[in-house]
Every structure is written in C-alpha cells, then in structure tokens.
Amino acid sequence: MFDLIILALVVGCFALAIAYAHLCDDLLARPADEDVAP
C-alpha cells in the first residue's frame, strides 16, 4: 500500500515538474515591445 502511494507521489511530482517546464515555456514568450536585437 505504502509503495503504491509513494509511486503515485513520484509520478505526480515529475508530472508537476513537466507542467512547470511548460509554464516556463509560456513565460518565455517575449513581450511584443521588447527590443530583441540591435
């Protein structure tokens, strides 16, 4: 039983980490008015 709970915990944490990566991808979208290159 404990093993199943911990397995779910591990999978859940890594799934959250992947969601965090996607969130960072969204945050990376530059504002339109930002100077990108000289």
Partner: protein, 575 residues
C-alpha cells in the same frame, strides 16, 4: 597552521590548475562528437546503444524537449532505484541477508541519488546489499552526473549558438558523458584506490576474533568502484556510514589527495569547456578565477579556525599549538592520518563542489568553520560545484551580474554576445530562488514542529545549525551531513526528499529555458559599448554579486546558527 599543511593545499590547487585545460578541451571534443582517443574503442558501443534505444543522434531537441527527456529519464531512475531498495532482500548479491529498505527511506535514498545529492539517512554497510550499492547507487551516481553535465553543455550551447531552435539531444549528451568521460576516469581511479588499500570484493563481511576473544565484524564489499564515481560524479554517497573518513574508503593521505582531485576536476574543466565553446578561453578563466577566490577564502578560513582550536579547551591548559608530536588545534572528529589541513581542505572541497563526501565530522568543526561550509552550499555551490551544476549555477550569477552592470551604466545587459532580456531574467530568478525557498522554508518548518525537533542531538544554536545544514545540503544537492541530527524518520526522509527534488529540478528547468531562449538569439558582435566580461573588473563584480546575493539571502539564517554559537563559545558556553 603548518608549512606542510599549506603545501598540501597549494599542491591540490596546482594539480587542478594543470588538469583544467586538457580536460576542458577533451570535454569539448566529446560533446561535439569529434574524434577522441577513446572513440575507436567506445564508438561502436555508443552507436549500438543508440540503435538499441531507437535514438537518432543527429536529431536535436528544443529546450522543452530536452527538459522533458531529462525529467522522464530521472522519473524512471527514481522508480527503478526505489523498487530495487524495496526488493533487495529477494535479490542476489546480498551476502549479509539484509532486509528490504523501509518505504520512506527508500524514497529518500532514490530521490537523493537521482538528484546527484547522495544524502544518506542510512548506514550503507548495514542497510544496503551489494546489488543495491552497485546496480542502484552506483548506476545513479553515473547517470545523475552525466545528466548534470549534459544540462551544463546545453546551457553553454545556448550562449554559443546563433538563431538555433535546438540545444542538443539529451540522450546523446548523457550517453557521451557516461561513456567517454565518467567511465574511463572511474576505471583508472578505482584501480588507483585499490592500490591504496580500498577493497573490491563480493565476499561478505569478515568476522575476526579480537585479542579479548570477542567477535568483530569488518564490513567490506565492492568499495573501490563505488568510491571512484562517488567522487567524480559530485555525488558523495559513501559505501560506509563514515564515508571518506573510513579507512576502507580513504586509506592514505595520497588517496585523500586523489579523492579531492576527482571531486574538483570535472567542475573546473567545464569552465574551460565553456570558454572554448563560446570562442574565448578567457571567459572560462574568469569564471574559474571567481571560483578559486571563493574557494581560497573558504579553505584559509576553515584551516585557520581549526588550527587555532577551541578556546574553552585552551582554557584548560591544553596546548593547541602544532609541533612534530601533535597536530594541535581542534582534532575532534578528524582522522589523525589526514590532520587539520587535510580535513579542512577536504571539507571545503566537498561543500564547495556539491560532492558531499566527508573525511571528518563537520559537526565537530568550530562554529564559524561550520558557517563557511554552509555558505559554500548556500551560494548554489558555484565554487566548482558538481559536474555541470557548478557551471550553470555560476552562469546564472553571470546573468545577474551583467543585469546589475547594465542597470548601472544604462546599457542593455549582454553576456558573451547574447542580450539578456526580461525572459532570461525571469528564468534566472526562478532558478536562483528555488534553492533558498526550499532551504529556508523547510528549515523553518522543521524548527517549529515536534517531529522536526525530535531528531536533534544538540540544543541551542548548534541544534539549529544541524537542521539548517540538513536542508541546505539537500536543496543544494550536496548530501554531506553535519551529523548530530537523526534523520531516518518519516518526517525527515520525506521533507529532505522534497528539498532535494526542488533543489535539482526546479533549478534545471529554468536553466534549460534560458538556454533555449539564448540559443534562438543571434550573437551580437562586440562593440565599444559592450561590457567586457573577460577582464579582472568583471571578475571582481561577479564576486561581489555572488557574495551580496548570498549574504542578503542567508545571513539572517547563519546569524541564528554558527555566528551566535561562535559568540557564545567565546563567552564560555558550549553546545
């Protein structure tokens, strides 16, 4: 302090200095897939691995693809190691018939080694079978180090590439790091350690009769192979509970020197690798220069404090001055064969580097020495760090430094030809805040709940330092223990696992995001308005940024622990 002590420190620094450039050049060739001395031998194996796994080595990934591959790789590793620890009693290579590891301890250990932390809430010789040590701990030591180096290389590619949508292939980088870097060095290192007396055997623990006709059990096992990767990987998890203080892990002063070189060599070489890949080795030397200054200050401070000893002991008319017959100073918790210099140097190397191996008990160091060890870890272990994590930690501080400089002189911040925009700053701050959030948040939590305080071995500021050290070590993925805190409880196993997870993955994801964002940009030609980042001025500025950011974040926490304890010690109160 003695001349021979300083010579030991100087010899170590000299060896690292000499190895940095050749290793740096080798790393560049390995990760570029160029011909190296080992390619004829290992190239067919590399190609076979790609074929077996269905990987097309020429196909690269975006930063998001690279991150997801990195996370899936470690999720599988965590589950595999957890399962191995839980099932070890039913598996072969368990001559001591050790039982399975408890669920919370197995989770803590699995996260610990997958995140390259190697925090150990267990004693290896009485908890883990040879199968768990070899197929579990050792394998993850290799893979976590290889993935850390892969992230650093991907980060460098972000600076080095122009208008690129990709930052490399995670599977290829991990394979190359393991095959061409970690494995060959570990084979040589393990053989060398065996010549020094480190055992390598599948035989069970030896049972011997003592002179008093008692029975003594002497643990042994396949130690040399684990020892080599434990040091090279920045992992630090010992085969024995006493880690590198154990004579079977670190038998001689020569082995001690070799172990410290193994801990530092890849982290230092990656600075040169960075310089070469961005087209200016001077950029790499500046980073190494900052690391060297921080390292030098730390080791000088620890050595001086430990050599002076405890004033409360001196007050008892105990002579703390070193001479030919005695080491002097504070020898509590230190091995006589290493002395004060060998212990101070190893402690600074292990905490600066993220390795977490110990050859002396940090709990027994002077209060301010403990504070220096904590500070080494608190600055994100940018002082060489583990293979990969030290470099990308330092590069994050470079981003902050050019932002500060840009604000001062009214220029858009640039670093090695890349503009640092708001997106990169956001990601950098997310990465840099993850470790303090985990460290300070979890420390505060443990200090106010009964289950947290239940593990304390000491009262007062020293007890607080024990808790602070544990979470700092976990979140900084160091893994060394201060000792004095009993952490094999469900509370500590779970909260420390959370700290390690946050300290590794919540840092690396934004790091890769910065890499992807930078890689997509063009490289800006250097102009008269460009802040020169390959000069001593930037070295000093970067040093100041690291100290100020680290100080603002952690000084209050340090004041409550080692600083108060030091003041109390001079007032005659010991904990």
């Amino acid at each position: 302090m003695t001349v021979i002590g300083w010579l030991q420190i100087a010899l170590f620094v000299l060896i690292i200095g000499l190895l940095t450039r050749p290793f740096g050049g080798y790393l560049v060739r390995v990760y570029a897939g160029e011909r190296t001395v080992l390619r004829p031998l290992l190239g067919p194996l590399e190609a076979a691995l790609y074929r077996a796994a269905g990987i097309e080595p020429k196909t690269e990934q975006s930063w998001l693809g690279y991150s997801v591959a990195f996370l899936i790789f470690h999720a599988i590793g965590t589950i595999a190691l957890y399962a191995l620890l839980r099932l070890q009693s039913s598996l072969p290579l368990n001559p001591q018939h050790l039982s399975e590891v408890s669920p919370d301890l197995a989770l803590n250990s699995a996260v610990s080694f997958v995140t390259n932390t190697s925090w150990q809430s267990y004693a290896g010789e009485t908890t883990l079978s040879y199968a768990s040590q070899m197929a579990g701990i050792t394998v993850q030591s290799f893979l976590s180090a290889a993935s850390g180096m892969a992230v650093a290389i991907a980060f460098i590619r972000g600076f080095a590439r122009t208008r690129s949508a990709t930052i490399g292939n995670f599977w290829v980088d991990v394979t190359r790091g393991t095959l061409y870097v970690l494995l060959p060095v570990c084979v040589v290192a393990a053989l060398f350690l065996m010549t020094q007396g480190v055992p390598q055997t599948f035989a069970p623990s030896a049972e011997v009769a003592t002179l008093e006709n008692g029975l003594q059990i002497i643990a042994r096992g396949p130690v040399a192979t684990q020892e080599a990767i434990k040091l090279l990987s920045g992992d630090g998890g010992g085969f024995f509970n006493a880690n590198s203080a154990h004579p079977f892990e670190n038998p001689t002063p020569l082995a001690n020197l070799a172990e410290m070189v193994l801990i530092f060599v890849l982290g230092a070489a990656l600075t040169n690798c960075f310089g070469r890949m961005v087209g200016s080795e001077r950029q790499g030397w500046i980073l190494l220069g900052v690391m060297a200054i921080l390292f030098g200050l730390g080791v000088a401070g620890i050595y001086a404090l430990e050599a002076r000893g405890n004033p409360a002991v001196s007050a008892l008319q105990v002579d703390a001055v070193a001479n030919a017959q005695r080491p002097g100073g504070n020898m509590e918790g230190k091995e006589v064969r290493f002395g004060i210099a060998g212990s101070a140097l190893f402690a600074d190397v292990a905490t600066a580097s993220s390795d977490g191996a110990v050859n002396a008990m940090h709990d027994s160091f002077m209060p301010l020495s403990g504070g220096i060890l904590l500070a080494n870890m608190m600055v994100d272990e940018v002082i060489v760090g583990a293979p990969g994590s030290g470099l990308f930690g330092m590069l994050l501080f470079c981003v902050v430094a050019v932002l500060m400089a840009g604000l001062m002189i009214g220029r858009t911040p640039e670093y090695v030809g890349k503009k640092i925009g708001s997106s990169e700053i956001k990601m950098t701050i997310l990465a840099l805040m993850s470790v303090p959030a985990a460290t300070l948040g979890l420390t505060a939590f443990a200090c106010v709940v009964e289950r947290g305080l239940a593990g304390l071995g000491n009262a007062g500021p020293h007890g607080y330092s024990e808790i602070l050290y544990a979470y700092t070590s976990a979140a900084a993925t160091n893994g060394s223990a201060f000792a004095g805190l009993s952490t094999n409880s469900a509370f500590y196993n779970l909260t420390l696992a959370l700290g390690m997870f946050m300290g590794r993955f919540l840092v690396i994801i934004p790091v890769l995001a910065v890499a992807g964002s930078l890689a997509a940009q063009p490289i800006i030609p250097r102009s008269s308005g460009t802040l020169p980042t390959d000069r001593a001025l930037f070295l000093g500025f970067l040093l100041g940024v690291i100290v100020i950011v680290g100080g603002l974040t952690y000084l209050p926490a340090l004041a409550l622990g080692p600083i108060v304890e030091n003041l109390q010690m001079w007032a005659g109160a010991l904990h």
